[in-house]
């Protein structure tokens, strides 16, 4: 009972299992590239949500660091090293982190709309560089037909192998990001999101935390970008355009990243499936997606997993009410106590 509840509350094992069997699921399993893309997007959205959902900072140009990752991997493969895929990915993560580290230093004091605009402006600057600097980025055509290396000697040409390689990285990234989210640092972020001044008066240098998490987020965004480059064997300036950053914001909000760690995965799932399947039927699928986004956010501002949170809160309030009734009777407050210990 206890264990079962924990698995549902923190269902990363279920998520691993589902993605593990995905290639063998009838009908959809054959779209392995789609599965890979979903995993990549999930990593990107999870990393983004450390900044949005945990620290409460609207980093609306987060695609910048994803884009930096794609170019970092592409350029590494093209110019320096193409034998194994790990090094190009490490380079991507490094540059994602370096960019957020440097830019984060400049904007760690900014909050709200200013933070949002400064991140959007940054991704637009990178977009223009990517789009115009023909000699390095390939400009409009981007960098294409990259030769994808092996992973520890295993060829990734087979989409199934490639999918499991991406899956492995997803497991690695999710475990680390989850670990950070549940760590004291994650707690401090949630605290500063609620009341930054209070957090400072509890001795936390909040700007430093903002800077750190922005950097960590950049590392994983860069990694995801690098993976995207491997998936498509190419890098385009498109990934740097601010509308691409908008996609991850929408997906994360839709899934419920503001209140739930797994919201970004749910959001990515909806976004990627909507894009792939709706677009097959109708070119203007974005219209439907946009509409459903509006409807969901209007009625459940915290996103889809916000429903789960709402139910939890309702249970919570009920238990408080019961608790209050019981406490006058003195003895009966015990059952609540045991129950809550289980939860912890």
């Amino acid at each position: 009972m206890n264990k079962k509840r924990n698995i549902l509350k923190d269902p990363y094992l279920i998520i691993f299992l589902l993605f593990f069997i995905y290639p063998f699921v009838p009908y959809i399993g054959k779209y392995k590239a789609l599965g890979s893309e979903l995993l990549i997007w999930s990593i990107f959205a999870l990393s983004f949500n450390l900044v949005l959902g945990y620290a409460g900072l609207p980093s609306f140009g987060h695609g910048a660091f994803y884009g930096v990752g794609t170019y970092a991997t592409a350029l590494t493969i093209m110019h320096f090293y193409s034998k194994d895929v790990i090094i190009p990915l490490v380079v991507a993560a490094f540059f994602g982190g370096l960019f957020t580290f440097l830019y984060g230093y400049l904007i760690k004091r900014k909050r709200g709309i200013y933070f949002a605009l400064l991140t959007i402006a940054f991704t637009q600057i990178l977009y223009v560089i990517g789009f115009r600097w023909d000699e390095v980025t390939g400009g409009e055509t981007g960098i294409t037909s990259l030769k994808i290396g092996t992973f520890l000697g295993i060829s990734l040409k087979d989409p199934l192998y490639f999918y499991y390689f991406i899956f492995l990285l997803f497991v690695f990234a999710l475990i680390i990001i989850r670990r950070i989210a549940n760590s004291p640092v994650g707690k401090v972020l949630l605290a500063l999101k609620q009341d930054e001044k209070r957090a400072q008066y509890l001795g936390f240098n909040t700007e430093k935390y903002v800077w750190y998490i922005f950097t960590v987020s950049g590392i994983f965004a860069g990694l995801a970008g690098g993976m995207y480059c491997l998936l498509h064997s190419s890098a385009f300036a498109d990934t740097l355009h601010w509308t691409k950053s908008g996609d991850v914001v929408m997906a994360t909000l839709l899934g419920g990243g503001l209140v739930n760690f797994y919201g970004p995965i749910v959001g990515s799932l909806i976004f990627i499936t909507a894009r792939e399947f709706l677009s097959a039927f109708w070119d203007n699928w974005m219209l439907l997606y946009g509409l459903s986004f509006i409807i969901i956010i209007l009625f459940i501002p915290t996103g889809l997993l916000g429903i789960v949170e709402k139910i939890r809160e309702k249970k919570h309030i009920d238990s408080i009410n019961n608790g209050n009734n019981n406490s006058t009777m003195n003895g009966k407050s015990r059952p609540t106590k045991i129950l809550t210990k289980e939860e912890r």
């Binding site: 707690k187 001795g203 240098n205």
Partner: protein
């Protein structure tokens, strides 16, 4: 040695002089009340002492260490802490988490990236102690936003205690709290004052006169009077400027608007 001392402390907001040349010292233990009409500069004074504002001129010494210009998050580690006029806490955290977060910091887990925040035995044990002190052990897993107003005020104060302060500044700890809850808050504060120095800004004269060991009167950014309860009560300037006629003292004290007017 003074616990806390200011020298010619001044804070200007443009033309407005909120705190004017205040030299003041706070000694060990007991309750010091700072009273004065609204806009007298009491909250600004607190904000200066805790590093939220940087003074226009003057110095602040904490146990003879110059702390002028040091940010709040460093000052609180020097055992000077505060609570807020509007109860300040993390509404979506449980009561337990609200306390736990400060304890995490004191026990050195502030920058721990990889440990599981909810499974640190020493932090949990320490946090439990506060739950007991607060008398909220049975409600510790309740979200703080569901607390009563008085309990929110107490939670705010308790959060400030998690860094083991020697001086605690309380900005209107009973504002907006009524009746029995008010008594509860006052009892909580007077218990604290046995171990640490408590400085409060308070409008309710009944409370001020009953719990203070010393009272300082602030008007227009300057100290008008400073002394024991009796001294301040008898001070002619204070009576004229602030308390009104002696007979009316209590009545005025109860009516916050009359005081601030």
């Amino acid at each position: 040695m003074d616990l806390l001392r200011t020298e010619n402390l001044t804070k200007k907001f443009g033309e407005l002089v909120a705190v004017n040349n205040v030299s003041f010292s706070i000694k060990e233990k007991g309750v010091l009340s700072i009273i004065g009409p609204n806009g007298a500069g009491k909250t600004t004074f607190f904000n200066l002492l805790t590093g939220f504002y940087i003074p226009t001129s003057g110095k602040i010494y904490l146990r003879d260490e110059d702390i002028t210009g040091i940010p709040p998050f460093d000052i609180v580690h020097k055992k000077l802490s505060r609570s807020f006029q509007i109860a300040s806490y993390f509404p979506d955290f449980t009561i337990f988490e609200n306390i736990q977060i400060g304890v995490l910091n004191r026990l050195g887990y502030g920058f721990s990236f990889f440990s599981d925040a909810n499974h640190l035995t020493d932090v949990n044990e320490e946090t439990e102690k506060y739950m007991e002190m607060l008398g909220l052990k049975d409600q510790k897993d309740m979200k703080a936003k569901f607390l009563s107003h008085g309990d929110k005020k107490i939670l705010d104060i308790a959060m400030s205690l998690t860094l083991n302060p020697e001086i605690l500044l309380l900005d209107e700890p009973t504002s907006g709290v009524s009746g029995t809850e008010r008594t509860k808050v006052i009892e909580f504060i007077s218990k604290l004052a046995k171990d640490i120095k408590v400085v409060i800004v308070e409008h309710d004269m009944d409370i001020v006169f009953s719990i203070s060991d010393r009272i300082a009167v602030l008007t227009q950014g300057s100290i008008l009077a400073d002394g024991t309860v009796e001294e301040v009560r008898k001070n002619k300037d204070v009576q004229r400027a602030y308390l009104g006629e002696e007979e009316e003292e209590k009545k005025v004290g109860r009516d916050k608007d009359a005081v601030s007017g």
